[in-house]
């Protein structure tokens, strides 16, 4: 169903808030992450920095409940429509990882932190 031949077996997966339509983040899936996401109904990615499966929320408890799964015309990109538990998809405490806008040669923060990152990870 998915073409895992490119990017060393990884495909990009976009997580979008199912209610607001806000794009929350982009992460990567290998075949195992994809299958685990479908099996569990929660977003499971492959962390390139950790070199292993990453069950989103495994440290913070802030999982992503997957409401709908779409794939693109080339079957090499995944779109998850999710409910983000805890309100913040971003490890920096913002709802979305895309909290910065390009303005000329500057970056402007255009969102408020919804969670204190120190509090998220203290839960562990």
């Amino acid at each position: 169903m998915i073409n895992f031949e490119k990017n060393g077996g990884l495909v990009p997966a976009i997580a979008q808030d199912v209610d607001s339509g806000e794009v929350l983040m982009l992460a990567w899936m290998n075949r195992e992450a994809w299958e685990e996401t479908l099996r569990t109904g929660q977003a499971v990615y492959y962390s390139r920095s950790r070199g292993r499966l990453w069950r989103k929320g495994e440290e913070s408890g802030h999982v992503q409940q997957v409401v709908e799964v779409r794939i693109d015309c080339d079957a090499d990109t995944i779109l998850l429509k999710v409910r983000q538990i805890g309100g913040a998809a971003c490890h920096e405490g913002y709802k979305s990882c895309f909290f910065r806008r390009v303005m000329g040669d500057q970056l402007q923060i255009i969102a408020e932190r919804v969670v204190d990152p120190a509090v998220i990870y203290r839960k562990q």
Copy 2:
């Protein structure tokens, strides 16, 4: 501003409809595509299949006018908020490339074609 060190100099770029919030497509940018996008105000990607810059709409005339540019927390993914001229971001004639939903082990088409692909590319 962008970290082009991963993925062989390419970063994923998500195009989202600025009005509806619909995710239209994901493509790739190298540094030159990124700079051309900012300079021209129209989405320019790097086509991996063609091995060159791809000015979205160069064949069809259906360009993407870039209204806002965001980058993510790791500065390795780009989010473009765009106006899709012609109504179809997808080369198959759908508004969004994500026109298929996963239902068990099946794919279900959940959108209508808005343009006949044969008509788009005859314009060339």
